[in-house]
Symmetry: C2
């Protein structure tokens, strides 16, 4: 088994500083472009006015142009009559004032009279006249170097007679996707094929960072081809990215290609995700091997490609905005890496709460959902729940302040409510973290969530959610916002080939997929096992946990399991069969005082709307007689 | 004289609310675009995954795929030997895991042995396997409505098999420039002609605000033509802007065009600059007449066009960011208007200082230079110096914190230093306000500036700047940063046609252009007059004031005056003649403690650099033997 070895796993700062210092001699390139197309570009040099503006003495008001010396005796007691031509000309704003006229009197200050106008006050030279160069003087510096051009700058440059302007050339970033298993997104993915998506992310990240992305076709894992394309790209681009093959697997040729063509400065950096990054230099240009997992690819782009792009753009990188936040759950981490954990943020009772998202390097949806990154330093083994951490923001604090935070049980309707909320309010949204009902109530207790979606049965009286809420919040005024009744049962393949009817049909031959500890569905399954006296070791796949109903359904659909417990709407969404076990009440627990919050108000409005009920109808498996009712406890 | 009357000068809020409520029925338009081109667009609907990702069980690590049940007896005491094919397959990250293999062991955990690998710990099903749908489950909502699409979203959409996406259509804003005197910027402006620049500002403001600008050719002040083009534009665009002709002059036909085609909701709003705005509705679409002065045009665009664009974009307008700042100078204002005054901002000793810029509606350079707007409410006659005002920011506070604030005398070298500073540091800049030497020292005294550029002569000993600094700052440790010696004298037309040699040649026939009170140059001129016993009334144009040396020079160049006093470099820049009067020392006064500030350090570095001295050489009229020296007082 021939595998590459990481040459030197460096800490991030050292790796980055070494890398940047290898390109200290990079100087910005300049290009001349039309001023009319310069929005957002950075000036490479100062621009000097060719024309003055105004370019002639111009009338600043609608009125009459006068000879100021003819007005000097005017007063209220002794008005002066001005005669047309001899004493004045009618003028409008912008008209040229020519000698002998040297001042303007506003229309509002004129008294119409026979043979002209009367005035009751004198004027002075250049009154209400915009003198030549009053705004811009020829040869004056209009914009300095390194100025980001805005709409207003463009019109001023044009007034000053500047039609072309030297700006910093945007760096061209070559993006080379590699991998035998990779296919273009327009092809249909067969088993074992992966849709190549990172190059599109890079292309757009390059655009967002003021560069020009140039995507190359996907290259197979062939060292000769890779080397040849990299060699070409180095000719045509300012920076080259190779993705992936940056790791130490048998088919990872990126490091060899860079070493053959130039120099590998670093292979392996102590960050997670993102370790297998390669920082190299070929013919004086930065060549970077980025790892293939989407989260690793994103992070290493931000940490290494963006800073090197800034060398070309000649702007200082803006440090990421960091805010302190209270962590909602303990995060363990290895001492070997600095780890970046994606978090959702929300403000509960004035405190910013960070809820960790999926940590896998492949969890690209966690990047979509993230509000920021919590960085666990290399020298720490983890961070305890409720500790204050520093979060690098990827979303505005203003938006985060408009986020309704739900922690608890999962249901498809949460996405629907979020969608409705975004559409109705345009700026409020819902953030939901799926930890199961019980953990949700604990989060609510700790004031880390606004609402806890819960479906917990009281076995004694068959009621849902009331008993546990009373127990956990004995002294607080609580409210249960009624959500939906939903069908909970066995999700099986179409036609129910194993004839699952009840829990005793889940024999040791049947592959089960379970839910995580604390999930209401897991509680229900464990209750059923106990009732029937079935030991958990008899359940094949009891340890095989999925985090959501949809993950259970897809495992059954794709034959990773034969049966799992979940809600009807998920079985239906994937065209699977469903056997009812129970109806359960999926509600939202909150403090009575939180009902006042504007996003909770909006949430209630949506729950009670006909549009929402129509959506439930379409999903199937829900009933909503009480949806939006309030039960005060 | 036939002029329009303003129908109703409304306060801004009323006018805006009436205007927006006339378009309450506007609903966003949707268009389908390729996901790969969707960066920055706003989703019109939620998007649901077509594919799961991963779409098959895939290997999460480089290593071997195993049958987990074959590993269950492995321990450190009793390692298990795994044989190729029978027990394992070598796999790399991303490879498909097919039955009977159901788990992966990392390469790092393998011990090479004869006939295969030894392992010392069991594994379990799906260990190091990315299960189908682990990241994205088919039918899952990937993005909700009203989400601004980022690079990371694009790659996730592609993974989920989404190739086209419904987004909110950008509103098309028709921009119609009008005016007999207006010419295209590519033409050479003759006297009486104005380069039409506002349409380019609007075009780019529309882009900045997520719309699509459509510029129409310049139309003459012809009511029939204007009406016809507006009528066409209303067909083709979502919003129409007419610029200008919105006032009440004889050639202002905009209001008639809108009234003929539809309805004028408001003509005249109580804001300054910007009063003559017209808010109208034609065939259900917003049609807006904007005033012609660049500052008025900019402000009314921001106040009225941007909010109406948001109706189409379906995003809430972000309220402007406001910060409290200390006003450096008293601002008077009329009770008739809410007035927007452009200000420069800087932080001096932790306090944010707002220095008002040129207030004229035509002063477009003041928009280029502005860091924000100080709004004087309609019910106030002004705001006193040192009062705290609220400033709407147009530049980041972070950038503002890196601004070196100079208040005092003007010289061309300030622009040069700013340019060098931007180029060298990329994010520090210099803000200079030209109020004359004495006012600059007063600002320094009040801690409203970091440096005061000064050239004040002590008539007794012929020294510059020391005496006044000692007098004004008797108890503080001060430093004079030596600037330049510069030639000060008479700026006259080429060939000196009036043979100006000294002050007695400025006879009452000669048109003089003066500088504003407090300017060092004015002080010098007054001193010369006094010395020669010449009364100011004998100076024709004594009241005709210009704010900078360059303004004096351009007045002479363009024959607004015959002579003015100023520095050599300005005369030379405009090809004028120059007669020496004196050499003066132009220095920078500051507190000794301010020398520590990073931007003052940078300022000193630039003053002392060869590059700066070369620039002075090129400007001419400066000598710099002591430039950058420090004199502690």
């Amino acid at each position: 088994m021939k595998r590459n070895l990481y040459l030197n796993v460096q800490d991030k700062e050292t790796a980055l500083q070494n890398f940047l210092s290898a390109f200290e001699d990079i100087s910005p390139k300049k290009e001349w472009i039309p001023v009319t197309e310069s929005l957002g570009r950075i000036t490479a040099e100062a621009s000097y006015a060719r024309y003055s503006s105004p370019s002639y003495n111009s009338c600043a008001m609608d009125g009459i142009a006068v000879i100021s010396s003819h007005t000097k005796n005017a007063s209220e007691d002794c008005p002066v009559l001005l005669a047309p031509e001899k004493d004045y000309l009618e003028v409008d704003t912008g008209d040229m004032i020519r000698p002998p006229y040297d001042a303007v009197i506003m229309a509002e200050d004129l008294i119409e009279a026979e043979g002209g106008f009367r005035i009751i006050a004198p004027t002075h030279p250049f009154a209400h006249v915009r003198a030549i160069g009053e705004d811009i003087v020829t040869q004056e510096m209009v914009l300095p170097s390194r100025h980001e051009i805005r709409a207003i700058d463009i019109s001023v440059l044009i007034s000053a007679g500047i039609h072309e302007i030297p700006v910093i050339k945007r760096p061209v970033v070559g993006i080379i996707p590699t991998g035998d298993e990779m296919i273009d997104y327009r092809e249909t993915p067969e088993d074992g094929r992966i849709i190549e998506t990172n190059s599109w992310m890079f292309q757009n990240l390059v655009t967002e960072n003021h560069g020009v992305g140039r995507r190359y076709p996907i290259i197979k894992d062939d060292p000769v081809k890779i080397r040849s394309v990299v060699s070409d790209a180095v000719q045509d681009c300012d920076i080259v990215i190779i993705n992936a093959g940056s790791s130490a697997g048998r088919d990872d040729y990126t490091v060899h290609a860079i070493r053959d063509l130039g120099e590998v400065l670093t292979h392996g950096v102590a960050i997670k995700p993102g370790k297998p990054v390669i920082l190299g230099k070929v013919q004086g240009k930065p060549v970077i091997g980025l790892p293939g997992y989407p989260v690793s690819a994103y992070l290493t782009f931000v940490e290494f490609v963006v800073p090197v792009m800034h060398l070309f753009i000649q702007q200082n990188a803006r440090p990421p905005k960091r805010v302190p936040a209270k962590l909602s759950k303990t995060l363990m981490s290895g001492l070997k890496y600095e780890e970046y954990v994606r978090v959702k943020l929300g403000i509960v009772e004035g405190e910013l709460i960070a809820s960790p998202l999926e940590r896998g390097a492949g969890a690209s949806m966690s990047l979509v959902r993230a509000d920021g990154f919590c960085v666990i330093p290399q020298n720490r083994e983890g961070i305890a729940a409720h500790e204050t951490v520093s979060v690098e923001l990827v979303r505005d604090m203003e938006q985060i302040g408009k986020t309704l935070v739900l922690i608890g049980s999962h249901d498809l309707i949460l996405d629907v409510i979020n969608d409705r909320m975004m559409e109705e309010t345009k700026d409020m949204c819902l953030s939901s973290t799926h930890v199961g009902s019980l953990s949700g109530l604990i989060a609510l207790k700790k004031k880390e969530a606004h609402l806890a979606p819960t479906h917990l049965l009281d076995e004694k009286d068959g009621s849902y959610n009331r008993t546990i809420t009373r127990e956990m919040f004995p002294d607080e005024k609580m409210v249960i916002i009624k959500g939906v009744r939903r069908r909970q049962g066995w999700i099986v393949k179409p036609g129910n080939p194993l004839s699952i009817g009840n829990i005793s049909d889940i024999t040791p031959e049947v592959r089960y997929i379970n839910r995580q500890r604390g999930a209401g569905t897991r509680v229900l399954f464990d209750y059923l096992l106990k009732k029937e006296g079935i030991p958990t070791k008899n359940i094949r796949g009891y340890e095989h946990e999925a985090a959501t109903h949809m993950s259970v359904a897809v495992a059954v659909q794709k034959d990773n399991a034969d049966v799992g417990m979940g809600i009807y709407s998920c079985a239906r969404a994937l065209g699977l069969d469903f056997i009812d076990v129970t109806f359960e009440e999926y509600d939202f627990v909150t403090y009575a005082s939180y009902l006042e919050l504007p996003f909770v108000q909006e949430f209630l409005k949506i729950l009670r709307s006909d549009a929402f009920k129509a959506k439930l109808e379409a999903l199937g498996g829900y009933s909503c007689e009480k949806t939006g009712n309030l039960i005060y406890l």
